[in-house]
């Protein structure tokens, strides 16, 4: 298979304009004849469903939560990037494009990255028009702050709850369409399979999580906006329900998965405190604007942090990366923390954390100013840990976060299955091997508001004569049968171990062998172990209750079953990439001072993987990355 990324003609800054000029349109009278399914109601899902609804298509919107407003975009804290240059500090679309491409270690498509930077300007306007209360200067104009990996202030924020406010804007736009009946809402529904007819995506099979009923839904196009799969590590910053099942089931139906092993480990989450723990809480990266990161100079330090004098502290980010200091990008900051922790300088009861210290900022700016900027984060820290971070440094630690990998999509955000689109974190597209802070909300939003409405219309223009799609097709019947069989299988295993036991065991394996650092031996070992664990799961898992009722354990079992296969593919992907780039750090490929060693001569491509059936090795298909505008350079933040 040869991958066609469909990058439009013209110079970088003209590509999107050229695409929009030539994209086919659907006459308003014809739009009501076309049905679209959107799975997921986060920023990408809500915004695209609302946009397509207001254009006049029949939209069905699905989410597994009790309300679309709960989608995990709600939890993003720090901000959203836009190259508005309001601070007059030299920002521009081009500079944002360069920062993002460099941040992703030159493993993203130029055209996609440029388009994201370009659309960032419109997003702020759109959100403000919806009533998103972004932070403002005293004169009434929008304010910005800086974020990791960048030397300008281009991050717009709504206190530490930017994701919440952007999502509520998109949710409200969605609910407006629900009120107008242009969008039909199905909350507490989970997609369990993709239905294809004649090689095209034509519908989905869902389980009504309230009743257990299996339902069929047909459409002319299916959009997956289901977020990332970082919860595969069990301990991660993601919500408990976040999963990779929708994209994985689509993968098994023929959509390629790209760069699955690139999962960002966030440097500022709260450390693990015990075995019972269900997740790691993220503290916003924006804290690094004013917080200084350090560990004691002495190994196994036992003194209270406030009793350790300045000259006995190691501000290791400022030491190693003087140009960016505490604002070094996420992959670099996370690895630097791991390096200090592994070397025996970690702090906290489990020696698994580093300090994030605000004492200097409080002294210089006053407690009130810090409270205004980050008050909710300090409150959250107090609630979770019982410590007051105004009085002593926070303890933070790296944890699994955003998946840069996802379904392979072309410039139109269409997967290798015609009619199946993937938006936001569910696709692999714009972040390369590492996502810069505040680009996640941006990508999800621009995919949904500004890109998909054009590209999906271009696809749907060819579907006008298709007519209504019936759910009586044999393909629907087969997919439904398969889903029901899997559910029955889980219920009948009646083993001795819980689903969470398997999820936690898999998560630990991945942290150890396919986490912040990887090596060949470890990855091979992990593949073997994951296979064994998967076998054990199908023999010994215990799922209580029945399929035809509300049954959270059953929901979890399906997701964990998919995680085994995703985890295996992550290891394959990491194993084939003999280089270090972004979030992917292969221990065999590093410079003498411990920095990542990229290999452009051999690995300047996107790894797209095809499913070859259970227990078969997946097939690797390469999409070469061609850089026309800027040539990859060694990524240095020193």
């Amino acid at each position: 298979m040869i991958l066609n990324s469909k990058i439009p003609e013209g110079s970088l800054e003209k590509k999107w304009e050229n695409y929009k000029k030539t994209a086919r349109l659907v006459n308003p009278a014809n739009r009501k004849k076309l049905d679209v399914i959107v799975v997921g109601t986060g920023l990408a899902g809500s915004s695209v469903a609302a946009s397509l609804g207001e254009m006049g298509y029949n939209v069905k919107s699905f989410c597994f939560q009790d309300s679309p407003r709960r989608a995990h975009s709600v939890a993003a804290q720090g901000g959203v990037n836009a190259a508005k240059n309001y601070k007059n500090d030299g920002d521009s679309v081009y500079r944002m494009f360069v920062d993002t491409l460099k941040g992703g270690d030159f493993r993203a498509r130029e055209a996609n990255v440029y388009r994201m930077a370009e659309c960032s300007l419109n997003l702020i306007d759109q959100a403000v028009a919806q009533g998103v209360p972004f932070g403002r200067e005293y004169g009434g104009y929008l304010n910005n702050r800086s974020f990791g990996g960048v030397q300008v202030s281009r991050t717009f924020y709504a206190r530490g709850q930017t994701g919440q406010q952007l999502l509520l804007g998109a949710y409200q736009a969605l609910m407006r369409q629900v009120g107008k009946k242009s969008v039909q809402l199905f909350s507490r529904h989970e997609m369990l399979d993709l239905v294809m007819i004649d090689g095209k995506a034509r519908g989905i099979i869902v389980r009504n999580l309230d009743t257990g009923a299996i339902e069929r839904h047909a459409a002319h196009a299916v959009i997956l906006a289901t977020g990332g799969y970082g919860k595969i590590y069990y301990l991660s910053t993601l919500a408990m329900g976040c999963n990779g099942s929708a994209i994985w089931r689509a993968h098994k139906k023929g959509a390629l998965m790209a760069s699955p092993s690139w999962i960002q480990v966030h440097p500022t989450s709260l450390p693990q405190s015990g075995d019972y723990q269900s997740k790691l809480t993220l503290m916003s990266e924006s804290l690094r604007n004013d917080g200084r990161i350090w560990v004691p100079l002495k190994e196994n330090e036992t003194r209270n942090p406030n009793d350790i004098p300045e000259n006995e502290r190691d501000y290791y980010l400022e030491r190693r990366y003087p140009a960016f200091g505490n604002l070094a990008p996420r992959d670099i900051s996370s690895r630097a923390a791991k390096e200090r922790i592994d070397a025996g300088f970690g702090i906290g009861p489990l020696k698994n954390a580093v300090y994030l210290d605000f004492s200097k900022a409080i002294k210089e700016q006053g407690k009130e100013k810090i409270q205004e900027k980050y008050g909710n984060l300090f409150d959250m820290y107090l609630k979770i840990t019982g410590y007051n971070a105004y009085q002593e440094p926070m303890m933070i630690s790296p944890s699994a976060h955003f998946s840069m990998g996802g379904l392979w999509v072309d410039y139109e955000l269409m997967t290798t299955i015609p009619g199946l689109f993937a938006l936001g974190e569910a696709n692999f597209a714009d972040h390369g091997a590492n996502r810069l802070g505040a680009n996640s909300l941006l990508q999800a939003s621009v995919d949904g508001y500004f890109i998909a409405p054009y590209t999906i219309a271009n696809y749907l223009s060819q579907e006008i004569h298709t007519g209504k799609i019936s759910t009586d097709h044999v393909e629907f019947e087969q997919a439904e049968h398969q889903v029901k069989q899997q559910i029955e299988n889980f219920i009948h295993i009646k083993g001795t171990k819980t689903v969470d036991y398997f999820h936690k065991t898999l998560g630990k394996l991945l942290y150890d062998y396919c986490g912040l650092a990887r090596n060949k031996e470890g990855l091979k070992y992990a593949i073997e172990e994951i296979r064994k664990l998967k076998q054990e799961f199908y023999k010994d898992v215990k799922v209580s209750g029945q399929g035809d009722q509300m049954n959270t354990e059953l929901e979890k079992a399906g997701r964990v079953a998919d995680y085994f296969e995703i985890g295996e593919l992550m290891c394959y992907d990491a194993l084939t990439r003999n280089e270090s780039c972004g979030a992917h750090f292969r221990e065999e490929y590093q410079t003498p001072d411990g920095e990542a060693l990229r290999n452009d001569a051999e690995f300047q491509f996107i790894s797209a993987w095809a499913w070859k059936g259970e227990n078969n090795e997946p097939e690797l298909i390469k999409e070469p990355l061609i850089f026309e505008e800027i040539q990859p350079t060694v990524r240095s933040y020193k």
Binding site: S51, E54, Q65, D66, R70, A129, Q161, T281, I384, T552
Partner: protein, 249 residues
């Protein structure tokens, strides 16, 4: 630490429910309340019982999905907290804890501790938005908004829609939830244009969902995880009167 739990178990909306006793031993006091329920569920599954169904997702205090009455208080004993941010250190060793779902006519019970809060979504879809289509919004700084106004709007916009205000209200009123959205929108110039229609539609929807009336006990503000102020309700009442007065016939 050890805990005695009395948990509301109810098969579905039609069935009768009851409090069931469970004992948990050797719990770590740093555990969150939901992790304690996870621990209980692991034990129930292994013992062959069905686990307790409860709503939760982000476990960071922001999604608003978790929510239950703990010893008669929405989200438990701490002020302005979600259930996921409540930790066992807030309880005593050996304590008995009663756990029930949020109760309100407008929040039917689905199973155990899970309830149906879609009435909130319907209130939003009746008018809790700015009617702007995608794509052609004016420049974001074209209309200046003072720092103070943006912050005040944010204070109201911060509502997470968890329903604690309804659950703790003796009338089961949604006044705090609805008024927070109305205040958020009316403070900003973008939301002002449709203020009259918005409030009339949202209040009408709120009334049709079987929420009770507000009788100003202010319990909602006490229990709200975001500390949303009851002054929002005062503003809603003002806006409602204003809208009726200026209503176009």
């Amino acid at each position: 630490m050890d805990l005695h739990l009395k948990i509301w178990r109810q098969k579905d909306h039609q069935s009768e429910g009851k409090l069931v006793n469970y004992d948990l031993k050797n719990l770590n006091s740093h555990m969150s309340f939901l992790e304690m329920l996870d621990t209980l569920n692991e034990k129930l599954i292994i013992e062959g019982d069905e686990p307790v169904e409860f709503d939760h997702d982000c476990r960071e205090g922001i999604c608003g999905q978790c929510g239950m009455m703990i010893n008669g208080l929405a989200h438990g004993p701490l002020e302005h907290t979600t259930t996921c941010q409540l930790h066992l250190r807030s309880f005593k060793d050996g304590e008995t804890i009663v756990i029930e779902p949020f109760r309100a006519a407008a929040f039917p019970i689905k199973r155990d501790l899970k309830i149906d809060r879609s009435s909130f979504d319907r209130i939003i879809s009746s008018g809790g938005f700015v009617s702007v289509n995608t794509g052609q919004a004016p420049d974001a700084t074209a209309i200046a908004i003072t720092h103070e106004t943006a912050e005040e709007a944010f204070d109201s916009a911060a509502c997470i829609g968890c329903g604690a205000c309804v659950a703790t209200c003796k009338n089961g009123s949604a006044a705090l939830f609805t008024s927070a959205k109305i205040t958020h929108m009316v403070l900003l110039p973008q939301g002002k244009e449709e203020r009259s229609n918005r409030i009339l539609n949202m209040v009408k929807q709120m009334d049709s969902e079987h929420f009770g009336h507000c009788s100003n006990t202010e319990a909602c503000e006490m229990e709200c995880p975001q500390g949303i102020s009851v002054l929002n309700i005062a503003r809603m009442n003002y806006e409602y009167g204003r809208a009726l007065f200026f209503r176009k016939k």
